[in-house]
């Protein structure tokens, strides 16, 4: 084994070196720190946020905490509606939700997966106050009038079995506390008044599940107030009515009697769901598992495929058009090539919107190109070409807009190819074409690679141009993402679509690296 090298003072050499370099590293880090922070804030964190949003779904559990809890014991694959307990929990949750006005938001979220459910939530929210919730309050006060006092709840909440043995009641009590604060202001004291009837219904459903041991604990509590309340309650509660919330909800809206709606709520009660991703590939989870959506609702897979194919086509036409221009730029004398370079860069200095609008003028049915074709007699006046508001329009316009991104890397690579290569090939007997094919072209592949990656990745996420010239047939997936961000406000779906796009690009990049090798990409 080789002995470790040391410096004169006996320190290991590698440690000494690291120490010497540390200062420089630190300085370099300080220099890039502003950029690093900027990138983290404006690039990494939005991407992470998007990934998070694409699976995040806390709204159901947050808005209907007790309902989602109670639904866990319901079999979504069966053909029975949830139990009375679930409806009681729903009443309790909805009461608070309409008070703080978040039930419509929940309705909109559920509506993505179950169309029509939003109106059910809106309607129910309006009518929830008319719900008769006195049934269990009456039952409890009939056993012991003290149940109507706020002190009874304070005593119960102090007991060691709270909240474990009272899952529904504890949520209901929290709902009540929030309700009071929302109704009367933040400094209102929920313990000062006895809660509304929903809380008693929750207590009723919790009591049904208490073991006799727990009953004993409660009725023999050190707190005399509490033991008095529970004295004889076990026997009396057996004859309590089970409640009529289910009936009342069914009266309120037929939807509460439909299994589909309950399955949706059940399916979306976890805080992390994959529903956005299934929706992104035109599929949905139903009681039969994941199935394809009906044919008239499938759009995203088609859009993804169209986006990929059109991006490939745009990349390819950029290569075809950009290659000769880049060649000219690289071989012409500097003066001429500078002038040509300005022409190439001119689009960069013009607003994207202006360029796209210019294409609208050129390409429309009564536009410049059609007029010229008609004038030349190549196209009949009644048979003008549809060049815009379709795929053709998008491809033509995008090719023009992204062309510089192909030309510049190609140019910078071609610039480095010595003209003596082709001369050498010719001196050895190669014809112009053979020399190009065997010598020049292979050496420009890094430029083609770099340009293609740039153009492809830019076009796959392009949004403004397809929006303006794409009509309905020529839009990309990014237009759909923009729609969900700004119009339908279904950010989760937009995030899922965006994540799929991101993954697709990364996979293509990886494949490119495996096939061509990323070392073979030159940007200059």
């Amino acid at each position: 084994m080789a002995t470790e090298l040391t410096t004169h003072d006996g320190q290991p050499l590698h440690k000494s070196l690291a120490k010497a370099l540390r200062r420089e590293k630190l300085r370099a880090l300080v220099l890039i720190a502003p950029l690093l922070v900027f990138v983290l804030l404006t690039f990494v964190s939005p991407i992470l946020d998007m990934l998070f949003r694409s699976v995040e779904n806390s709204i159901v559990a947050d808005t209907l905490p007790d309902t989602t809890r109670a639904l866990q014991s319901w079999d979504p694959l069966g053909d029975e509606l949830p139990s009375e307990e679930v409806y009681a929990s729903l009443a309790n949750d909805m009461m608070l939700a309409q008070e703080v006005k978040i039930h419509t938001r929940l309705g909109s979220r559920l509506n993505y997966d179950q169309p029509g459910i939003a109106s059910m939530f809106r309607k129910s929210g309006r009518r929830i106050k008319r719900l008769d919730a006195e049934i269990h309050l009456d039952a409890f006060t009939n056993v012991n009038a003290a149940w109507a006092t706020p002190a009874s709840w304070t005593a119960l909440r102090k007991h060691s079995l709270w909240p474990e043995a009272f899952p529904s009641s504890s949520i209901a009590w929290n709902n009540w506390a929030k309700f009071v604060k929302s109704d009367e202001g933040d400094d209102a004291d929920p313990t000062a008044t006895s809660p509304y009837g929903f809380t008693y219904s929750a207590l009723h459903h919790d009591l049904k599940k208490l073991s006799s041991e727990q009953w004993n604990k409660l009725s023999s509590s050190d707190n005399s107030e509490l033991s008095a309340l529970f004295n004889g309650l076990q026997e009396a509660s057996v004859s309590f009515p089970d409640g009529n919330y289910k009936e009342q909800f069914l009266d309120m809206h037929d939807g509460w009697g439909e299994l589909d709606n309950w399955q949706t709520i059940h399916r979306l009660s976890p805080k992390v769901v994959d529903s956005y991703y299934w929706a992104s590939v035109d599929r949905e989870r139903t009681s039969d598992g994941v199935v394809q959506k009906p044919e008239n609702e499938r759009i995203y897979v088609t859009l993804f495929i169209r986006t990929l194919l059109m991006s490939l086509l745009i990349t390819f036409s950029c290569i075809l058009l950009g290659y000769p221009i880049a060649y000219l730029l690289a071989t012409l004398p500097t003066r001429t090539s500078n002038l040509l370079m300005i022409l190439v860069l001119l689009p960069f200095w013009t607003s994207l919107l202006v360029r796209t609008s210019a294409w609208k003028v050129l390409l429309q049915q009564q536009g410049v190109i059609n007029n010229i074709l008609v004038w030349l007699g190549l196209v009949g006046d009644d048979n003008r070409l549809a060049l815009i508001n379709n795929m053709t329009g998008t491809i033509i316009t995008m090719t023009h807009i992204l062309l510089p991104f192909m030309i510049l890397p190609l140019f910078s690579v071609m610039k480095t190819i010595s003209p003596s290569y082709v001369r050498a090939a010719k001196s050895m007997g190669a014809t112009d074409w053979y020399a190009f094919r065997r010598i020049y072209f292979p050496n420009t592949i890094p430029g083609i690679g770099a340009g293609s990656i740039l153009v492809f990745i830019l076009s796959i996420g392009y949004y403004i141009t397809p929006e303006l010239v794409g009509g309905t047939k020529g839009v990309f997936i990014s237009n759909r993402i923009a729609y969900h961000i700004s119009s339908s406000l279904n950010w989760g779906l937009a995030a899922a679509l965006g994540s799929i796009l991101l993954v697709a690009v990364l996979i293509l990049y990886w494949a490119y690296d495996r096939i061509v090798g990323i070392d073979n990409v030159k940007l200059g």
């Binding site: 010595s418 003596s420 290569y421 001369r423 050498a424 090939a425 010719k426 001196s427 050895m428 007997g429 190669a430 014809t431 112009d432 053979y434 020399a435 065997r438 010598i439 292979p442 050496n443």
Partner: protein
């Protein structure tokens, strides 16, 4: 109107202009014999590379005709000329291995795979790079790349090989070694080589004949020794080897001898090579190594000079002197080991034979 005189290459009244205003090559007439090693030597911008490019076919001649084996080739594209070429920066194809580079011209000639491999191997062995066939050019050193370039130019057995400053990028030692190797390859294969360089020692070492270019015109075309010993004009004398210039006026001419009166009144006896009439100005050219330092016997020319600087060169001392108004007069003093003390400011006598100093055309 081709004249069948057996020349491998013949330039006939060739002129070349790039911009239509200036002639880069002015009326070039040159015959290159088969098997000859001809070097085009000249400073940059003298037109030598242009001549080579016209011969290779990459630049068209503006006027005149170039013949290859007595066939006019002005309208023959480069790929049909069958001329091997070694480029200044080798122009090895970076995306191919060494063997693929060498096989390239053979593929074009549609040789079978086995013939190709045999020829590639032979060519690589010739330049002693037999083991390097699978390497990429970038993995080779400069000297190795240079050999590959030579091998590639020779692998398809061309009669004529052009070399455009092929050793320019190598360090001195390697360059000298490669000079001999190329020379030996030329001798062994018996091919015609046209070699372009601006390095006069390279030209002298390698060539059968050297064409010295300046201003688009061949100043002198002759063998290396002739070029060095008998320069035809001041430019050649200056360009080839080291040279002392003394300017004066011709006072008398006697056959091929003349007397030149220098500015300080000294009269020199010189060989008349390229002078006008009596009274014309002339520049006398004199090689530093032909000067005797403190001559013991009488010589044709004796003149006093003051030492300005002494530079130790090991085998000789290089003494810069002030002689007859020329402050950069150089004398090479053989290091004889008798440790003559030479110091700045000393005055010494210099002497040389009149045949060693040539009276040429006047340059300032």
């Amino acid at each position: 109107m081709s004249t069948n005189n057996g020349a491998a290459v013949r330039f006939e009244k060739v002129q070349k202009s790039y911009d239509g205003k200036n002639l880069v090559v002015k009326d070039l007439n040159l015959d290159i014999a088969p098997g000859e090693f001809l070097t085009m030597l000249g400073p940059s911008g003298s037109g030598k590379t242009t001549c080579l490019m016209m011969l290779a076919g990459f630049e068209p001649a503006t006027h005149g005709e170039i013949f290859l084996n007595n066939e006019p080739i002005n309208n023959v594209p480069p790929y049909k000329r069958g001329i091997g070429m070694v480029f200044q920066n080798y122009a090895l194809f970076p995306h191919m291995t060494v063997a693929e580079n060498l096989a390239f011209p053979l593929q074009i000639r549609k040789l079978s795979k086995s013939d190709r491999d045999a020829k590639v191997k032979k060519a690589l062995d010739m330049v002693e790079l037999g083991e390097f066939g699978n390497r990429r050019p970038i993995q080779l050193s400069g000297g190795q790349q240079q050999r590959v370039a030579v091998a590639r130019a020779l692998v398809f057995d061309p009669d004529l090989v052009l070399m455009d400053e092929p050793l320019g990028a190598l360090d001195k030692q390697l360059r000298e070694q490669m000079q001999y190797e190329i020379k030996h390859i030329h001798e062994n294969l018996g091919i015609t080589v046209v070699y372009v360089t601006h390095d006069q020692s390279e030209a002298l070492t390698m060539s059968d004949r050297v064409a010295v270019f300046e201003d688009g015109v061949i100043q002198q075309l002759s063998g290396p020794d002739e070029l060095y010993e008998n320069p035809q004009n001041s430019f050649v004398a200056q360009f080839i080897g080291e040279n002392n210039k003394l300017s004066g006026t011709v006072t008398s001419i006697d056959n091929n001898h003349c007397q030149v009166k220098l500015a300080d009144g000294t009269t020199l006896s010189a060989e008349a090579v390229n002078i006008g009439a009596i009274g014309d100005q002339t520049t006398v050219s004199l090689r530093p190594e032909r000067i005797e330092f403190d001559p013991t016997e009488s010589m044709d020319n004796l003149i006093k000079g003051t030492i300005k600087e002494v530079i130790y060169h090991g085998d000789h001392l290089r003494v810069v002197m002030s002689v007859a108004g020329n402050d950069e007069f150089i004398v090479k003093v053989r290091n004889r080991g008798d440790q003559r003390v030479l110091e700045n400011g000393q005055v010494h006598t210099l002497g040389w034979a009149s045949i060693d100093c040539k009276a040429l055309d006047f340059t300032a």
